[in-house]
């Protein structure tokens, strides 16, 4: 099958390598001449320099006869546009877009791009499986001291649901720095109220971590 890959970064490179080894005809479209050169050196002349969102470039690439079109640049909006051009201008039968922002899955579907792959979602799902009921995730251990940054999910049955920050008794040396709610991220004040399903980013120390978890999750 003739497959067009837009984006010659790491993902585009390994993807093309895999597709070639399966015997497909592959063309990579990449803006950056340095990346084009690297791909050509390692995989042969399968790369074209240009903007994969431009109709003229996709025409030159022979998009009309492509059986599959895959957009894997780092930018969601670029992937959306090149997929829309491939679909509506060149009628490529199968289209796949890479997305970074998981929310864009529903959006792309609504805009006609049915198949999206989100590395963010895949990894999140794996984390969910690996640590199914773990209410505390380590985000960052600070090298210099014993402090760490953790994320705690507020479960609906947690005793802190509906409480304001000033009503909590956090262990000394711990501080809630961000609260991630459905509607966005807030930097909390003493008057901020915790709700079920909130994700709290906190700084704490290794020896107070257990106390912090107990206070926020009740277990």
């Amino acid at each position: 099958m003739y497959i067009i890959v837009v984006g010659g970064g790491r993902l585009g490179y390994y993807l093309s390598k895999g597709l070639l080894s399966e015997g497909h005809e592959v063309l990579v479209i990449e803006k950056d001449p340095v990346k084009v050169e690297r791909i050509e050196e390692e995989l042969g002349s399968i790369c074209m320099q240009g903007d994969g969102c431009e109709g003229a470039v996709l025409e030159e690439a022979g998009s009309e006869r492509a059986g599959l079109f895959v957009a894997v640049t780092d930018e969601d909006e670029d992937n959306l546009v090149s997929c829309q051009v491939a679909k509506h201008k060149f009628n490529v039968p199968r289209i796949i877009a890479r997305i970074s922002n998981p929310k864009n899955e529903a959006l792309f579907k609504k805009l006609g791009i049915d198949v999206t792959v989100s590395a963010t979602n895949l990894i999140l799902e794996h984390i969910g499986q690996e640590v199914p009921t773990h209410p505390l995730i380590h985000l960052l251990e600070l090298k210099e001291g014993k402090h760490e940054i953790v994320e705690v999910k507020i479960s609906p049955d947690s005793p802190v649901v509906g409480k304001q920050l000033k009503e909590l008794s956090l262990p000394p040396g711990s501080l809630l720095i961000l609260i991630i709610k459905d509607r966005g991220i807030t930097v909390p004040t003493q008057d901020t109220t915790l709700e079920a399903e909130d994700r709290v980013i906190a700084v704490t120390s290794a020896d107070r971590e257990q106390a912090l978890r107990t206070e926020l999750s009740g277990s």
Binding site: C53, E54, G55, A56, E75, D76, E77, D78, L80, V81, Q84, V85, H88, K89, N101, K103, L107, K110, L111, R183, G184
Partner: protein, 135 residues
């Protein structure tokens, strides 16, 4: 009229000033707070830090009550993505979007986004001026 402008560059800031001075309710959205310096000091609308290609940011900017959405960032693709969110997710009655690439302008016109290419328009103005002087 309630208008959300995505992108506070020169055009975005100028449009915001024009609409604001006529009494319209304007919210300008930009991912770089530094770009709000372009807004005139008399601007009475809202300058909001946020990504116009993100549904939540648009919602925060009041897109659900907006009468119009204008996408004028430097990136064509960001503009069409923002415009399509406003049009197809939030059903904003009037959605305008700047696209420098004339080829993409045609495509998005056919996909229902009101796309305007300054490239085409400006080239026509220049040509008009030149041919007039030549007379």
């Amino acid at each position: 009229m309630k208008v959300v402008i995505m992108g506070c560059g020169r055009v975005g800031a100028e449009l915001a000033a024009l609409l604001d001075s006529e009494g319209h309710q304007v919210t300008v959205l930009d991912i770089d707070s530094g770009s709000f310096r372009r807004l005139v000091p008399t601007f009475k609308g809202t300058a909001l830090l946020g990504d116009g290609t993100d549904e939540d940011s648009q919602r925060k900017a009041g897109i659900e009550e907006a009468d119009a959405f204008v996408a004028v960032t430097q990136g064509d693709n960001r503009n069409v993505m923002g415009a399509q969110i406003a049009k197809h997710i939030f059903n904003v009655p009037r959605v305008l979007c700047r696209i420098y690439d004339p080829l993409r302008e045609q495509l998005y016109q056919s996909l229902g986004v009101e796309a305007i290419s300054p490239t085409t328009i400006f080239a026509q103005i220049l040509k008009g001026k030149l041919t007039k002087t030549g007379e």
